[in-house]
């Protein structure tokens, strides 16, 4: 079945440094979604990208969908301690299922 591979598994940064997580697929994706899960919490939807080459921004977060719709990235500029958590990419397959990448766990040192 369709899979999305996410790297890195973990990332430790100093507060103020940038952070990027990547999501890759061997097949063309109909869409890509990004979620954030705070420690001890449940995943919360951040954004969805559907168009080839699409770029969206939410304050310090920049989301990109590749031209071939096989990869995506989430970039955080100048991380803050509130950015701590696990970031998941996900894709909806056939309208019924949403499958998730393994997640990237972000640690921010103040």
């Amino acid at each position: 079945g369709q899979q999305v591979m996410q790297i890195p598994q973990y990332q430790h940064v100093q507060e103020g440094e940038d952070f990027t997580t990547y999501c890759n697929s061997s097949t063309t994706l109909s869409n890509i979604q990004w979620y954030k899960q705070r420690p001890g919490g449940h995943p919360v939807f951040l954004i969805q990208l559907v168009k080839s080459g699409e770029v969206k921004k939410q304050k310090r977060l920049t989301f990109q969908f590749g031209e071939a719709k096989k990869n995506s990235s989430l970039h955080i500029t100048a991380t803050q301690t509130t950015d701590v958590g696990t970031y998941f990419c996900a894709t909806n397959t056939g309208g019924f299922k949403t499958i998730f990448g393994a997640g990237t766990r972000l640690f921010v040192k103040a």
Binding site: H42, P43, F45, N92, F96, R105
Partner: protein
Amino acid sequence: SQTIHQWPATLVQPVGSPLSLECTVEGTSNPNLYWYRQAAGRGLQLLFYSVGIGQISSEVPQNLSASRPQDRQFILSSKKLLLSDSGFYLCAWSVPGNTIYFGEGSWLTVV
């Protein structure tokens, strides 16, 4: 607005005991419903999804089962829990083809 409720929030069960986790969604009709499991520090594994009453699709062979007795009710069950069933169980809903909205989750520890 739509809301999703999941309970219990925390559960400690002995090996071999039964399990029942319940989830209800309010404010929407005919949603897709899902059960995911997350092992400690790991990703989200899709266990079951349902596109309608009585319609259950299983993603992973296991000793768990799911049922959807009503449009907005989704239940995860087991007759006999294993140690490996421990984890964080998340119920979720979506409009077909759209984003996933998760419940607060249920922490299950099998001892």
